[in-house]
Structure formats: C-alpha cells, structure tokens
Subunit: 249 residues, 2 copies
C-alpha cells in the first residue's frame, strides 16, 4: 500500500487510478512535526486541511478560565481540520502529542476534488458523517455515564480506530495520552482520572504498560462501557456509482 492516507478514503469507495493520482497531486509533501508543536493555532485563518500520516495529535480549545478541552484525538490516517471549513477562523488548536508526519491539502485543492472526483468528495462526506456519529457517541457517554464507563469508552474508541488502520495485536494498543489529556477529553480532573485508571486496572479490565494498554478481555470491557457497536458502511452504492449512470447516458 502507498504511504498516502488514501486508506481512510478507500474505506468507503474503491478509488480508481485517476482518483488516486488526482489526490496524490493535490496534497502536499509529507512534513514532520515534533512532539508538543502546534500544527495550527486557535484563531488562525482557514486555508488548509491536514492528513495525519503518522503519530498522534489532539485538537483542543483553551477556555477563558484556563481550562482546556480536548475535542478530538487524531490517530494515524485521520483527516484534521475539516470542520473549520465552516468558519472564518480556526476554532481549535491542533497539536502533536507524539512526533507526527502530516500532509496538507489547500482548500482550493479541496474544491477541485468536488469538481473533478465526486466519488472522493462523497467519501470525504461520509468520513465527516462518521465523525459526527463519533461525537454523538461521546455526547451520549459524557451525558450520564460514570467516569469509569467514560474512560472505558474512550479506551475502546481509540482501540477500535487503531484496529481499523493498522495491523496491531488484538489485545493491546499503543497509548500516548497522559492522564491530563484524558481528563481534558472526558471532562474530569487528572486526579480523578488517576483513580479510575487504577480502579479499571484493579478490576482486571486493563493492564497498563509504558505507552501501551492491554485488554485481557475486550468484550467484557465493551459490555461494561455500554458503548454502541457501530457497523460502518463500506462502499455504499450511491457513492460508488456517482458519475457512472450519467456518463453512460
């Protein structure tokens, strides 16, 4: 497979050679960014979207009162920065939490995809909807679940996403979030996160290692978290056939 993050697009359509080439031409060269560096600041103008090729990143908002909310954890293969296409100014800061490599696409190139490769555009649209569902699941989770369940749901969410994009072991995963990151994601304090992490561990749901977490029994954890199982669509007919019927007729 190529090193382009096309796999994320290819989850929903099978790109033709032309589509892949177009995408390849439009996107910029991969760029390395060190840990803790900002990829994009809250308030910057909106002119690029980013594909995360490798490493972990977060988008967060700093509030007037000094608190920080992490609104999304970005994993390899993800699309970053698309939501701000709806804004004049970036809403969030994008920061690398490990060394990362990214590739960027100008908003102009983004428009080109819509006119030249409608099937890719449809795939991007579906990805956006998938993200909406993820956010909705998080709202569901934040709403009324205990901190313990929320943490379990977060772990499983990252686990599932890592399983999709890389060939990793079945029962463990990399982990690059500090407890402060987790706290800012779940709306808890880092103090409490520490407690519930230990609790989850003492109950046998997880085993913690350096930069990694193992799951002795994923299914048990899943039942405990009460997170919905999502059955993502793959290559839906309406998207796959875009342009076909017309050009034939």
């Amino acid at each position: 497979m190529d090193r382009v993050p096309l796999h994320r697009l290819a989850e929903f359509i099978d790109p033709t050679a032309e589509e892949a080439a177009l995408f390849e031409n439009l996107r910029g060269y991969p760029r390395s960014i060190p840990r803790r560096a900002a990829i994009r600041q809250q308030g910057d103008p909106v002119d690029q979207i980013y594909f995360l090729l490798d490493g972990w990143a977060i988008s967060f908002v700093d509030l007037p009162d000094g608190q920080r909310r992490i609104v999304k954890v970005h994993l390899p293969g993800g699309v970053m920065g698309a939501p701000r296409l709806a804004l004049n100014q970036a809403a969030e800061t994008l920061m690398a939490i490990t060394p990362v490599t990214i590739s960027s696409l100008s908003v102009h190139g983004f428009g080109t995809i819509f006119s030249e490769a409608p099937r890719l555009a449809a795939a991007l649209f579906i990805i956006a909807q998938q993200e909406r569902l993820n956010l909705k699941d998080r709202i569901t989770s934040l709403g009324r679940q205990s901190a313990l369940q929320r943490l379990a749901a977060l772990l499983l969410h990252v686990y599932d996403r890592l399983q999709l994009t890389s060939d990793v072991d079945q029962d463990k995963m990399d982990w690059h979030l500090t407890q402060q990151h987790v706290a800012d994601s779940l709306g808890l304090t880092s103090v409490h996160v520490s407690r519930i992490f230990r609790q989850l561990e003492s109950q046998g749901f997880i085993v913690r290692r350096k930069h990694g977490i193992a799951f002795p029994d994923v299914e048990a954890l899943r039942r405990f978290a009460g997170a919905p199982e999502r059955e993502w669509v793959r290559c839906p007919a309406w998207a796959a056939n875009i342009g076909r019927g017309k050009r034939a007729a």
Copy 2:
C-alpha cells in the same frame, strides 16, 4: 423565498437556477407528520435523508438501561439523517416533537447531487462540518460546566439557530422542549432541570412563557454561559468557484 429548505444550502453558496431546479426535482413532496410520531426508527435501513421544513424534531438513542439521550434538536430548515450515511443501520430515532412537515431525498438522489451539482455537494459538506462544530461545542459544554451553564448554552444555541433561519423577535424565542427533553439533552435529571430553570429565571436571565422563552439580557446570558461565539463562513471561494475554472479551461 421558496418553501424549499434551500436557505440552509444557500448559507454557503449562491445556488444557480439550475442547481435549485435540480434540488427541487430530486427532493420529495412535503409530508406532514403529527407530534410524537417517529420519522425514522433506530435500526431502520438507510435510504433517505430528510429536510425539516417546519416544526421541531429530535434525534435520540434509547439505551439498554432505559435511559434516553437526545443527540440533536432539529429546527426548521435543518438536514436530518445525514450522519447515518456512514452506517448500514440508522443509529438514532427521529421523532417529531411538534407537528412537522418534511421533505425527503433518497440516497441515490444524494449521489446525483455530488455528480451533477458539486457546489451543492460542497454546501452539504460545509453544513456537516458546521454540525460537527456544534457537537464539539456541546462536548465542551457537557464536559466541565455546571448544569446552569449547560442549560444557558442550550438555550442560546437554539436561540441563535432560530435567529438564523427565521425572522423572529430579538429577545424571545419559541420553545417546544419539555424539561424531560432538556434533561435527556444535557445529561441531567428532569428534577434537576426544573431546579436550574427556576434558578436561571430567579437570577433574571430568562423569562418563561407558554411555549416560549424571553431573554431580558442576551449578552449577559452569553457571558454567563461561556459559549464560544462562532463566526460562520459564507460562500467561501473554494466552494463558490467549484467547476468554474475547469469548464472555462
């Protein structure tokens, strides 16, 4: 203005006559649905998306333990059901909470928009991103704000959306959510919602009427809620010019 919900699309591009006609041809006839009726059930197959022409609706998820989470309140002009394009089965139930009229669009017609009217597709994409931002704001709000602030943020969110799509009075709005709805939205109990509603009222932030809420001082409420002010993009160049450069060349 037409009775089609094109205004929502027209927030981001100025549709040509052809684009408007295409959309008009693809969408179904308006349909009326009584209060409390389900527009779409959790688990149904995915073959339509809906435009809410009039009335209020909610999408919610019923959890195994009997709790209900409202993931979105739909107001007139909104697009409903797009997120499930990423799924094989509908993730949520769509229910009218007032009498509503809707117009539907098949997923096939949705594909046609991507091939025939890329600018409309781009507008739909931007709307999706806008929704993502709204969800992110809600996550921010749910995460660490007090119940009082969350309620204030919800009220302002609905207020701002109503201001966008209809010409209503500056200092008041219609309100069709019961306190149970609010509780299911904010992740609180209806008991507590009752308390904080009274508290918000006794502090002078709101005045409650039948099916309506008035805001004596919107800006004070906004400061209290601490919700971010969003500056939505309008007719961005990358979307407006889609297809132009190409056809000329």
